[in-house]
């Protein structure tokens, strides 16, 4: 069987089936929803960081832009929720296009500039002068579209598409070329790769999935403030989950989210007082002993990890 079909059958299909069926047997739907959202965001980070090497420290900017794209469509144009989610994706895409000059930077400079950009978008949206459009800092309430069940399944669909996109990257010359650009841009151009085009495509793809996730998040929670959907925690968590599992793989970010976000919630429920201590130690351990993520435990032994 072709590798891509194997990945679709043995990674994507079980993941979708499990998350489609879990709400029937597990009552904490918000927790399941958050898992799906972080699976999307961690894979979005994987697309841009794992395959091109740009660390998007302000990744939440796209998420928040998607949430507000959704909110504005629903508040002002009474758009049906699924369509408003798509608009959220488009808004994030437009923001991604606006930020393409950042791709001239690299390493820490890109990460810092991206973080600054997400803060700028936050303060733009939260500006009281824009109260007529975004409700400024006072937050939005979208009771008209409130439907957590539909929003949850929409999130599962976007997760499936995002993981599908990563499977494509992992199995196509396109994904190989992106990694080549990450490894050495000059050499990649001498392999005939249009490096600027490749970087922009990966950047916009990761912006799009975060925007769709943001739109769905707005649909699910229906009441939120700018500080909620532009919270730096989304960027940090998505990055940490992706890195913990191992980027430039399909399974790494999935494993990262399931384990780390699982532990996060477990500690949160049982011993919240130790939460930050344990979590901090865990991340320090990761950085010190497994900088290439959990999958490196296998790749070090020469095993191939999809």
């Amino acid at each position: 069987m072709h590798n891509a079909s194997k990945h679709l059958l043995f990674i994507l299909a079980p993941l979708v089936v499990v998350f489609a069926l879990l709400p029937g047997v597990y009552q904490n739907h918000l927790l399941l929803f958050n898992f799906v959202i972080f699976l999307i965001l961690a894979q979005g980070v994987n697309i841009i960081y794992g395959f091109t090497g740009y660390l998007p420290f302000g990744y939440v900017g796209f998420f928040g832009a998607g949430a507000y794209g959704f909110a504005i469509m629903v508040m002002h144009l009474q758009t049906p929720a699924p369509l408003a989610v798509l608009v959220g994706g488009v808004v994030a895409l437009a923001l991604g296009l606006l930020l393409t000059p950042l791709l001239r930077l690299s390493g820490a400079y890109f990460a810092i500039a991206n973080l600054a950009a997400s803060l700028a978008v936050l303060h733009f949206v939260a500006n009281p002068a824009l109260e007529g459009i975004t409700k400024g800092p006072y937050g939005v309430s979208l009771t008209g579209t409130f439907n957590p069940t539909h929003a949850y399944y929409a999130a599962v669909v976007v997760m499936a598409l995002t993981v599908g996109a990563v499977i494509y990257l992992k199995n196509s010359p396109f994904g190989l070329a992106l990694q080549a650009v990450r490894e050495d841009a000059v050499s990649a151009s001498m392999a005939g790769v249009n490096i600027i085009k490749m970087r922009v495509i990966a950047w916009l793809a990761s912006a799009l999935v975060a925007g769709l996730a943001g739109g769905i998040y707005a649909w699910y929670v229906s009441v939120f403030y700018p500080d909620n959907v532009f919270s730096g925690e989304f960027s940090i968590f998505a990055i940490v989950f992706a890195l913990f599992g191992g980027v430039a793989t399909i399974t790494g970010p999935i494993v990262g989210v399931l384990i780390l976000y699982g532990i996060y919630n477990l500690i949160g429920f049982t011993t919240p007082q130790y939460f930050q201590l344990i979590y901090g130690l865990l991340i320090m351990g990761l950085v010190l002993f497994l900088p290439a993520g959990l999958v490196s435990l296998a790749t070090r032994r020469g095993w191939h990890v999809p």
Binding site: Q179, M190, A191
Partner: protein
Amino acid sequence: MSPEQNSILKVSKLVKRFGGFHALDGLSFHVVPGEILGLVGPNGSGKTTAINVISGLYAPDGGEVVFDGASSGGVASHKLVHRGINRTFQVPKPFLSLTVRENIQVALAYGGATGAPPSIAELLEEYRLKEVADRPAADLNSAQQKMLDLTRALATRPRLLLLDELAAGLNPAELDWIAGRIKALAATGMAIIVVEHLMGFIEQITDRVIVLNAGKEIFEGTLATAVREPQVIEVFLGGEHAH
């Protein structure tokens, strides 16, 4: 038809400045299909800069580069690759985390090779990379990385190949072997420009050399005649040896 009219690459009065420094200061030469041309000269004479301009890494500040009848100065590297120019790097630049095979696959998929693309198995075999084909490029030794750099270039089926110090660091047996390979490539009609410090190697493979000094050509002809030219001796060994 004179060789100049037949040329696949013609460089005229090329200028490249870095701040106030003229790395290339009116360089002119040409190369014809099937020819191996050596670019020699002391360090800093502009050899690598010339290669970088011809391969699109730098845009020229003056003069022109004509490849296959069309101006190619300042055109993006990947477009020049599609037109038929490729190169190796003085310090090889493989995609370290990808396997050797994947390194070549990128060039095969994106190199826009005209006609049938070369077979990956043959390339691996011919350049002694078969044993390490599925290892990450980071595991290769420096000679193997040079060969990988070369196969990456060859996978795009170049008609003009620029070799920047490919021979440096190879042992004598490897040198003989790679000299044979380069000659075989030229025999297929590929034009090859070789930048090299090893004069024995240059003598073995080139049909003609251009001697550069301070960004300009000061001699054109065979290496055997070049070493009798007072101006060339002066540049390489200092003034007192020229007389």
